[in-house]
């Protein structure tokens, strides 16, 4: 299990990186954290002719937190983002998703933008981006473009990135005021890709009733599956029993497949169970000064 040969470049300048990648066309690959790419190389399931290592490229290393949200550069490791208190405060779903990404050692090297660009249908961070309706900044020879999350992941391991383009940053918007989020999943072993996972964002009004609710399911569709559940939940409380209908509606959208770890029926079942759990936790986390509708206790 050794990688096949490739040419290697470690530019320090983004334009140079884009130039090298463009030159390689569809035989080029970007190396950031490498935690998904290098296993594929070692198993010889990928054989790029050219590898452009962006770990020395200036300008990709920042986590920027502002009124709009959190902008994460392509060199930012999961672990760094997880440890960034300002980012966690602005977008709590980041930390809720990141702690589910593999194990800490992988998060020490793997990058959040890289995970999004890898577009594994079981990965958490593309789902976080999708649920929050974030975007990816893409740099190519033609310049920079911004691709909305909904258009970025186009299929399993497929994205809107054209040959020669680099995902340079991901933008995670702050949730609307009154919104709580949660990410729950079921995996075979701690740190494994989820059999099914559900992220949820629930917005409560001043009366403690739901004004908006969305979820994003992973591992049950070719891309992160965002379902708007506002129609099912608007005006309701977030008691567990009240969420069942919405959870069933979300699960209805899932199109899971059988694999060696779980049957499709089971994954669909998990989609329902986990959506309900995620909605309940998200509602409980909603920062409104209202009664805790999850437990019924007042906070």
């Amino acid at each position: 299990m050794k990688p096949p040969p490739f040419a290697y470049h470690a530019p320090t300048d983004l334009d140079e990186a884009v130039g090298l990648l463009a030159e390689a066309g569809d035989e080029g690959k970007v190396l950031a954290g490498g935690q998904s790419l290098i296993p594929l190389l070692n198993m010889r399931l990928a054989a790029p002719r050219v590898l452009v290592d962006i770990n020395a490229v200036a300008g990709l290393e920042d986590i920027r937190v502002d009124a709009a949200g959190v902008r994460v550069g392509a060199r930012v490791r999961h672990a760094e983002l997880e440890a960034d208190t300002a980012a966690a405060e602005a977008v709590p779903l980041l930390g809720q998703g990141l702690r589910l990404v593999a194990h800490p050692v992988i998060r020490n090297r793997g990058t959040t933008v890289g995970s999004i660009a890898h577009a594994d249908p079981s990965a958490e961070m593309p789902a976080v981006l999708a649920l929050l309706e974030g975007a990816v900044e893409v740099r190519g020879r033609a310049g920079t473009r911004t691709v909305p999350a909904a258009e970025f992941v186009t299929g399993p391991m497929e994205t809107a990135l054209a040959p020669g383009e680099i995902a340079v940053a991901a933008r995670f918007p702050r949730p609307r005021p009154g919104t709580g989020t949660a990410f729950v999943e079921t995996a075979r072993r701690n740190g494994d890709y989820a059999l099914c996972g559900a992220a949820a964002a629930v917005t409560l009004g001043a009366d403690g009733r739901i004004t908006a609710a969305r979820c994003c399911l992973i591992s049950v569709a070719p891309v992160p599956l965002v379902v708007d559940l506002t129609d099912h939940l608007a005006g309701r409380t977030a008691r567990l029993g009240d969420l069942d209908g919405a959870a069933a509606a979300a699960a209805e959208q899932a199109d899971p497949e059988d694999d060696i770890h779980a049957g499709a029926d089971y994954r669909r079942h998990l989609a329902r169970v986990l959506t309900a759990r995620a909605l309940a936790r998200a509602a409980a986390a909603a920062p409104a000064a209202v009664a805790d509708t999850y437990t019924g206790a007042s906070r």
Binding site: M1, K2, P3, P4, P5, P39, M43, R44, T186, R188, R189, N190, G191, D192, Y193, L195, I260, H261, A262, G263, D265, Y266, R267, H269, L270, V273, L274
Partner: protein, 825 residues
């Protein structure tokens, strides 16, 4: 006398090296060696039409490509069938490189030797093999139906067929007041040590000066048998045994898979080293290990049982279909072990067992820790639970009604065991074992705990499973103990170590025998240069056979040392004792001699090479001029060699109990408690024994809840990575609570029994029982994943899976021989 080491939790002598990163594992050796890689069949069954290596020769660093066509003589013959047995109908073994046909994905077809592994893989990828693809035979159903046969020239897929019977079991079942039939199923798993296999070989050509063929081969292999590899490689390469040295370095886990020998790679690497005149090394990578090493466990069992109203089993009739994979290199040890060890601590009135061992187009099946016992225990313990449920009795109570009593020992089960010797249990206290497990897990208190959990919306269950394990089989192991003139003690035994701490345990034994500090004892295992006679490490035999052998060897050394010391001290040998590295006169410790000095005196010298040795030279002092310097019947040197050849296996036993919780929504299974009662006779080092139990339990849990080999119907292994073969992390393995029993074995000088495999054996049985108890329906197939539990729930709701009747409160069991041990917690 210094502190007795036997029985003490001595810290391991191996560890200082290993924690410092100074281990010497196979790939840590041979820095300059060429690297080998193998082209392996991508098809489960195919005929090779052509192999074209044209493109490979362009690869930078390539040295050679070999195919079957390059082999001749013994190398061109099939590899040996290691353990022949009369029940084998048609025993097929592979060639070192495939000859025309391949029978599983991963079978080696060509060998590449290159400057490094990167180049070797590049070249291997460029070798084009033209296959005529045949149809796969995957799983017991396909094998037994024989619509397609795996091997040419066979009418079906039956490799072996054996019936053993004690009494008329079928008649006993038919006549019994109650009877049941169970269909049971266990899937494949595998040993999966973290270090794969590996071989490194070096050929030293004959020196022209002697004119004889005195070339020598040095082979390093990550194996469980040094002498086995030596004999097999010598035979294949047509060398005299004395021309081959096999040295086993640190081995990164074995668990059975490395007892198989010679692997195709294990003969190809030395063969290539000799042919090329270069050092060659092959280090198996993870993917190769999954597809091309060995697996185990897959069996289908049908049990018919007849029993009386107290749960006493009157007749037991078992049919086993055993998937042995593409070849039969290790014979039928696994199904024989299942057939015999299935009986566990019980004594059914009559027993009949029949197995058919079946070829499939998958990786070979050879012993993996437990070696057929997990399946046998699964059959027996699932049966016990079914009997209890049928009668509405407590599950422990039914077991208590069936166990062999201590006063019945030795107990002859009337069968032939895996070592070709009678299945006679030597010792054990099984009723006490049941009492202890009930006490440890608080069996009587569980009903209340279950009720409390139910009120909290939680679902919990408890299970128990027992086993008896034949350990320490022969034919023999040897020990060599030598005291050097420095007083240091060097111990050698031939079997190999894969983490069991033999270096520590054997040193404990010798330190006690000679009464020397343990730090002065150094142990070598698995080096044919040090101990040429040996069998290997398997079947929980290290402490039993090598432990006994080194004790006996040390005793021989003691006799000799006493003779020499008596002469030197002018004392009667009977008045002398060993104490703290000296031999001294009892009651007069000042009058004594260092063991190192005895070693000097044991070897009369002409030449002095240091100050100590001067004492043994010819002019050094008084001598008896009437007898030769080395007395008749003596040999120079303070050393002793002896062998332990056990009459038959010694039988360890134990009981496991597990408490699980199942998530009512997600069907996830969590182990809340895992309790082990364990009897391996006298404990040499409780710390090491407990470590063996912990590790075994982890593999038992893994086999029950996580690991399987997912072959598709084309014979492709779909989960050949640690991403998808779910070896548990710390997060999945429970804390193990252990209670020891120590029933000494009468069959060896130390009273010990093997401990290496026990922990894994009841895993599937006990966890199936606990999940069943939590869910209220039968669990007859393992492993079980959340997805499968979810499916079972649905099938149970649809009436397709039998319910388990509510278990009686164990309080009603207190009037049996299983007492209510303590108040519920």
């Amino acid at each position: 006398m210094s502190t007795r080491m036997f029985g003490a939790p001595v810290q391991r002598s191996e560890d200082a090296r290993l924690v410092a990163g100074r281990g010497a594992f196979l790939d840590d050796l041979g820095a300059g060696a060429c690297a080998a890689a193998f082209v392996r069949s991508p098809h489960a069954r195919a005929r090779i039409r052509d192999i074209d290596a044209t493109d490979a020769v362009d690869v930078a660093g390539i040295i050679a490509v070999f195919t079957y066509e390059d082999l001749s003589g013994a190398m061109a013959e099939p590899l040996p069938l290691l353990i022949p047995h009369p029940c084998i109908v048609d025993g097929r073994t592979p060639y070192a490189l495939a000859r025309e046909h391949v029978h599983y994905v991963g079978e080696p077809v060509a060998m590449v030797v290159a400057a490094d592994r990167y180049a070797a893989e590049d070249a291997a990828a460029r070798i084009r093999v033209d296959y005529e693809v045949g149809e796969a035979v995957v799983g017991v159903d396909a094998a037994v139906s024989a619509e397609r046969t795996v091997h040419a020239g066979m009418a079906d897929n039956v490799a072996a067929h054996l019936v053993q019977e004690v009494g008329d079991a079928r008649a006993a079942v038919a006549a019994a007041p109650n009877s049941l039939e169970l269909e049971l199923d266990i899937e494949r798993s595998a040993a999966t040590p973290l270090e794969g296999r590996g071989v490194y070989a070096r050929w030293e050509p004959a020196t022209s000066a002697t004119g004889t063929d005195d070339g020598r081969l040095r082979v390093y292999s990550s194996t469980q048998t040094a002498t086995g590899v030596r004999a097999a490689v010598a035979a294949k390469l047509e060398l005299a045994l004395g021309q081959v040295d096999v040295v086993v370095p640190d081995v990164g886990g074995g668990f059975g898979v490395k007892i198989v020998h010679p692997w195709p790679e294990e003969v190809m690497v030395p063969w290539a080293a000799r042919r090329l005149g270069r050092e060659v090394k092959w280090v198996e990578d993870r993917r190769e290990h999954f597809v091309a090493a060995a697996h185990e466990r897959a069996q289908r069992q049908r049990v018919r049982v007849g029993f009386d109203d107290s749960g006493r089993i009157l007749g037991l009739d078992v049919d086993i279909l055993h998937d042995n994979g593409a070849y039969l290199p290790y014979g039928v040890i696994v199904p024989i072990v299942t057939s015999t060890q299935l009986l566990g601590p019980y004594k059914p009135g009559a027993y009949r067992v029949e197995f058919r061992s079946l070829y499939t187009t998958t990786a070979v099946v050879t012993p993996y820790r437990g070696a057929g016992r997990p399946q046998g225990v699964f059959a027996m313990e699932r049966t016990m639970d079914a009997v209890a449920d049928h009668l509405g009795l407590d599950r422990l109570q039914v077991r208590a009604a069936n166990v062999i009593r201590p006063e019945e020992m030795p107990y002859d089960q009337g069968l032939m065991f895996q070592d070709g010797r009678p299945l006679i249990y030597d010792s054990g206290d099984y009723p006490r074992m049941l009492e202890m497990i009930a006490e440890l897990v608080d069996w009587p208190g569980f009903a209340e705990y279950r009720e409390r959990a139910r009120r909290e919306g939680r679902r919990v269950g408890i299970g128990v499973a027992c086993y008896v394990e034949g350990t320490g089989p022969g034919p023999y192991e040897g020990g060599h103990v030598q005291v050097e003139t420095s007083g240091k003690v060097r111990v050698a035994t031939g079997l190999t170590s894969q983490g069991q701490g033999h270096g520590t345990v054997l040193a404990q034994i010798v330190a006690d025998e000679l009464d020397v500090p343990i730090a002065d004892v150094e142990v070598t295992t698995g080096d044919t240069r040090r101990m040429a006679y040996s069998v290997g490490t398997f079947a929980s035999r290290g402490a039993v056979t090598s432990g006994s052998a080194v004790a006996l060897a040390a005793r021989r050394l003691k006799e000799k040392a006493l003779r020499i010391a008596a002469e030197a001290l002018e004392a009667d040998a009977g008045d002398l004792e060993f104490a703290d590295g000296r031999i001294q006169v009892k009651g007069s410790p000042a009058h004594g001699i260092e063991l190192g000095t005895v070693a000097v005196l044991s070897n009369p010298l002409r030449y002095a090479f240091d100050a100590a040795s001067a004492a043994a030279t010819q002019f050094s002092g008084a001598a008896d001029h009437e007898s030769p310097p080395v007395a008749e019947g003596e040999a120079p040197g303070l050393e002793g060699t002896d062998y332990h050849s056990p009459l038959r296996c010694t039988f360890a036993n134990g009981a496991h109990a597990a408490v699980v919780e199942t998530d009512p929504d997600t069907a996830e299974i969590r182990i809340l408690r895992y309790c082990v009662v364990h009897d391996c006779g006298n404990l040499i080092n409780p710390r090491i024994v407990e470590g063996q139990v912990h590790g075994g339990v982890a593999q038992g849990v893994a086999g029950a809840l996580y690991e399987r080999m997912a072959y598709d119907s084309d014979g492709q292994l779909l989960n050949a990575s640690l991403m998808d073969f779910l070896m548990p992390y710390a997060s999945e393995v429970p804390t193990v609570e252990i209670a020891h029993m120590q029933t000494p074995s009468p069959l060896n000088p130390l009273g010990v029994k093997g401990a290496g495999e026990a922990g894994v054996i009841p895993g599937s049985a006990v966890l199936a029982a606990a999940v069943e108890d939590a869910e209220g329906f039968r669990v007859d197939r393992m492993p079980i994943s959340p997805s499968e539990l979810f499916e079972l729930r649905n099938r149970h709701a649809a009436g397709e899976v039998a319910s388990v009747p509510p278990r009686p409160s164990p309080a009603t069991a207190s009037d049996t021989s299983v007492p209510s041990a303590r108040e519920p917690r």
